[in-house]
Amino acid sequence: MSAGRPVSATQWIFGREPLRETAERLRAAGYDGIELSGEPDALDLAEVRSVLDATGLAVTSICGLYTPERDISHPDAGIRAGGVDYVKRCVELAQEVGAKVLIVVPTAVGRVAPVGAREQELELAAASLAEAAAGSGGEVAIAIEALNRFETYLVNTLEQASELRALAGSPGIELMADLFHMNIEEADVVGAVRAHSGTIAHVHLADSNRRPPGQGHTDFRAVFAALADTGYGGALTMEFLPATANPYVAASLDVSEDVKSAAAHAAIDHVRRIREESSAVR
């Protein structure tokens, strides 16, 4: 699905399925790319290159997975160093596979309260981001992701992500917009996209109930219009999931092949339909 921003899907939502199967599924559904899970130690780069060659998919981005030992705002210096080291290795992975964006969540996913004081942890996150960005060479944007209140406490809105970005103060640190989380946290979803358009480097798409776009109540026509108006040139990456509380557990559930393919198709078909409508209008 060329013409316009590339459409990809994030690898981790397909669970433990081998990369090649996920990539084949996405290629068959007409995707342009894939967002690789940030597991530098688990990925076989030769296999990744072989899969990309075989399918013609690009790697749009790397999705960092922020487990408790990868927490860049944690007051424990050892945990924090582990987080920073992880982010750096993901930046290297992005460089290896030609991805332009690495997603960073500035706490562990699921940490819904500060260990100490929020202000201190925000400062620690900013310092960690600045340190990681120093090694990115400007080729890979570090995109701060705001998750909803039930998955993190530190950064829930694009405005808070923007504050953290300013506090870090390094080039190469940007924001990302995730439409599922924004449905819960933003008072005005489209308004937030427009307000932060200059710094949005990446976009995750799932509907209001985290199903594929088109199966909830989010108005993607208005979202895409705002992205187009503001000159967004990055990828649109699908991140749909079953309705469970822990997203990483959700990904490990047994979901049939049919359901995975149906969701991948439904998601891109909704995006395609809106694009066709809007180009017909023009």
Partner: protein
């Protein structure tokens, strides 16, 4: 339409102050926290009468010790005893409904298999419902979003549960914050529940006062009118936190007292006009 406000968000403030505030801002009812051990029914009833305001409902609190789906029979028995004590309290203060979610808040995965747990929950809620019916009180089964429980997330699931319970005294509940996450259309969900909709919570998409998020309340109010909903619309607003109870005493809670109490009823009354 009749309006109430859930005093849960007033935290440790003495209930007399909350009742006075709601009467002052033109509310018809007060939603009381289901804590019969901490609230004196006689004194609450007296304060309500003095301010000319009713008790609308009881907000039940469901934790690990009051879990209708627990695999521990003693916990299930305790959940039933707790709801019966809420029924007694509701009867004494004149509240019409008790909210009930048949598992523990923040329990996000089953201990046994879901079918078994639902069976236990139906049995327990039926016993609670029979007791409630004998005392002229109704139970409203509330779906919470996926992050707050795994068992009942949508109105359709609540309705299926209520149908299994099979009592006039047990119906559904709809909360617009949870619905903004879980329902494709909140108005359709309300229409689905129809005459089995016994209680309603309003909060905006971000759990702040209606008008402060992006939920369109006009079709929701229209759906309530369409089904002839005769219960209360009770505002349940909570701070933006994974565990809102941690923030109830904090600085961010200040908005939930006078400011949100005043603007919530004004905003929705103007829609319903």
């Amino acid at each position: 339409m009749r309006f109430a406000y859930n005093t849960l968000v007033y935290g440790d403030e003495p209930i007399e102050q909350g009742i006075e505030r709601l009467a002052r801002f033109g509310y018809d009812g007060v939603e009381l926290v289901g804590a019969p051990d901490r609230l004196d029914a006689g004194s609450v009833a007296e304060t309500l009468a003095r301010h000319g305001i009713a008790a609308s409902s009881i907000c039940g609190l469901y934790g690990p010790e009051t879990d209708f789906a627990s695999s521990d029979a003693a916990v299930r028995a305790n959940a039933l005893a707790y709801v019966r004590s809420c029924v007694d309290f509701a009867e004494r203060v004149g509240a019409e409904a008790i909210s009930l979610t048949p598992t523990a808040c923040m329990k996000i995965r089953p201990e046994a298999d879901v079918a078994t747990e639902l069976g236990w929950a139906v049995e327990g809620v039926r016993a609670a419902g029979e007791y409630a019916g004998e005392h002229g009180v109704r139970i409203a089964v509330e779906p919470w979003n996926r992050y707050e429980n795994y068992l009942i997330n949508t109105v359709a699931q609540s309705l299926a549960f209520v149908e299994r319970v099979g009592l006039d005294s047990v119906g559904c509940m709809a909360d617009t914050f949870h619905m903004a996450i879980e329902e494709v259309s909140s108005a359709d969900a309300i229409r689905l529940a129809g005459e089995k909709l016994y209680h309603v919570h309003f909060a905006d998409s971000n759990r702040a006062a209606p008008g402060r998020g992006h939920t369109d309340f006009a079709p929701i109010v229209a759906a309530l009118e369409e089904i002839g909903y005769g219960g209360y619309i009770s505002f349940e607003l909570l701070p933006a936190a994974g565990d809102p109870f941690l923030k109830l005493g904090g600085d961010e809670a200040a908005a939930f007292f006078d400011p949100y109490t005043e603007e919530s009823i004004r905003y929705v009354k103007q829609l319903a006009a």
